[in-house]
Symmetry: C2
């Protein structure tokens, strides 16, 4: 509205500007942090109603694979970073080769885009992950035989995963036997999505280690316990059940991965804790849902440190601001009601930091989160859920824990 | 850029939207807080380069006295609030009379616009302020005689103030005798600015009490010590030299004023501490420079609570997040250099929260602030100044205090 798209106007020394590919809630929270530093953000948004478009005057419209708009973005900023992984790595490589600063870097980004590449990289650097095998449609016996062979070693159930992308909006299929597996393989084969198979791990709990890195400087935030229901993160507890020795181990793994792949920016490593041992499950090369607690719960948030890292500025301390922090995600209620109209109840909960992303309410859609910081773990968790419930999010029965433990 | 100015588009239930008259740094920080709550902000900006225009897609261009654009603003939001006091109260009254929600309300707003009205209101409700008299050009003997009469009671020096507006960019003139006073009176008479005279108070230190109010709910943040140099706030210390009994007294005064005038939103009451007694100096009916420390230093910032109050949502707790907080303002350096290009040094200071407002650098212009939270008062103050110095702001000699006290 203000800045002319052709960049015309009175000449003055340009301030640093950050380009973001994608305009969802991560981009929105990145803009909130960038605004405090005085850093302008230019978005490449797929839709004019995307969450972040409302908090910047600088929006380009286009798909993340639109080379013309990507060049327009590159021309208007110093560094390009990402709201999501739905990107064309080959195209981005041509940008990087042409001297455009792409952060975390295309090579590192491949970890977040391609699960098979991620597992192979972890194997190479000796980081434990879940037992897995890449399925090759042209390999011996076809994918069905490869799944059978894998099951003979690891038993049923198994988990079939799309190693890149997915179809029908899904990318993870737990299967209890060969019949179910075959159904998944048939569907995937038609869509051409590449697959892998993983052992079904009986986990004690899940955790996430968040780190930020720029050349010569890597910092880790306190490790959090995360709770997923049906593959979706519902709550994050700092530190939750993560005891100090396990936290140190998880941080060391995340730092080792970050340094090994030379990431620039924030990286989240999601892990399983199984009988005291850790196995990496997912790696995300950007600010992450399991790191939203850092906005109020750490001296420097994941969004500010991501900006600092990709602009090659000194990183801020990752120390927590309170002994216990709980973050609960807010999803659209079944009746389609908008949590914006329920702010009254949520804000009445003492100490509740309510974040709504400005997205149109739809049942099951992630629309926001609530964070509470404090000294008592049960208290912060209860208050966070209380505010989330006010906003229309019900507590999954899987998360109702026995009394006496938070 | 995204939203069409005529409001056309697919119909859907509109979310709450906040209109802000003015687009300076207060509007920018208001948008940062509004974004977390999912509240869209529409600005009425005087210039397309104003600080806040870069962080919203919804900007109307026009003077704060442009009735047409004010109506356009009112049509696009639920509540109108303010970035500054350079407003036309009479025009705003017609909006309020027409049912537009103007917050803090025109009657309350008069306190911030008209110092004579502010002093009279304080007198009425029995709140101590600096000895003062309104000068009446048509009164007995003219203004010169009225200043002489005032000086016979309060002695020299005195302070002549514009009760509304000012001229030549100034509104406060300390005068040491009648000759200097006559020069000020002559200049002011030509410009038609209304004047008052105040006693020159020998103060121990200055403090600011920040409160937020909506109907039935008034909360006070911890009181801060402020340091002004040449009439400009340079640093804010929480709690600085403000001992608990004095803090309680200052909070009680601010709450009394807020309730008496029925303010809706944040209000800052700046006071002098003179021999243990308090006297109100200024009242601001909006988020205030002496409250920027609350962004990191309090559970709920002044910006979020201002938004909550004007949208009639429950207020958030005003408790501090650390025992000591220091905020130092950043001004343009004499050489015109942009602090944006000095972020490297400032962000290397541990725990420094750097805020830059995205304004064009000019010598002496307020361009940002730095906040540090911690447990040791001297340490937080030193780190805040260290970061501010990195950004080009020198420490005024008036603020160099004897060793041994923060």
């Amino acid at each position: 509205m203000i800045e002319r798209a052709d960049g015309s106007g009175p000449p003055r020394r340009r301030r640093r500007a950050l380009g973001v590919l994608g305009a969802g809630q991560l981009a929105r929270m990145t803009i909130e942090a960038a605004s405090t530093l005085g850093v302008p953000v230019v978005l490449l948004a797929e839709n004019p109603t995307d969450a972040a478009t409302e908090v910047t005057s600088k929006v380009l419209l286009g798909a993340p694979s639109d080379a013309g708009q990507l060049w327009a973005l590159a021309a208007r900023c110093d560094v390009i970073t990402f709201d999501h992984e739905h990107v064309d790595l080959e195209m981005l490589t041509t940008f990087e080769d042409a001297g455009v600063a792409v952060r975390p870097g295309v090579a590192a980004m491949r970890m977040g885009v391609d699960k098979a590449h991620m597992r192979a990289t972890l194997d190479t650097i000796g980081v434990p992950s879940v037992p897995h095998a890449v399925l090759d449609p042209r390999g011996a016996g076809g994918m069905a035989a490869q799944v059978e062979a894998f099951s003979e070693v690891h038993g049923w159930p198994l988990v079939v995963k799309a190693s890149r992308g997915g179809y029908d909006g899904k990318g993870v299929w737990p299967v209890s036997g060969i019949e179910e597996a075959l159904a998944v393989l048939r569907g995937a084969e038609q869509s051409g999505v590449p697959l892998m198979v993983e052992a079904f791990v009986r986990i004690d709990f899940e955790l996430s280690a968040l780190v930020v890195r720029r050349a010569g400087e890597t910092l880790a935030w306190p490790v959090v316990e995360t709770s997923q229901v049906d593959g979706v993160c519902r709550e994050v507890l700092m530190p939750g059940r993560v005891q100090p020795p396990l936290a140190a181990e998880a941080q060391a793994i995340a730092v080792r991965v970050a340094d090994a792949i030379g990431v620039v920016g924030v990286m989240a490593v999601e892990m399983f804790s199984c009988g005291g041992a850790l196995a990496v499950n997912e790696v995300a090369l950007r600010p992450h849902n399991t790191g939203h607690w850092t906005i109020e719960g750490a001296v420097t948030s994941q969004f500010e440190n991501h900006i600092r890292a990709v602009l090659d500025l000194p990183l801020g301390t990752t120390e927590p601001t309170a002994p216990h922090v709980a973050t609960v995600n807010v999803f659209g209620a079944a009746d389609g009601s908008d949590p914006m109209h329920a702010l009254e109840g949520a804000l009445a909960v003492p100490g509740a930091h309510v974040h709504l992303y400005g997205k149109e309410a739809r049942p099951g859609r992630k629309l926001g989160h609530v964070t509470v910081c404090g000294t008592d773990p049960a208290d912060v968790r209860n208050r966070a859920w209380q505010a989330a419930r006010e906003l229309g999010t019900s507590v999954p029965t899987q998360l109702l824990r026995p009394a006496g433990r938070p």
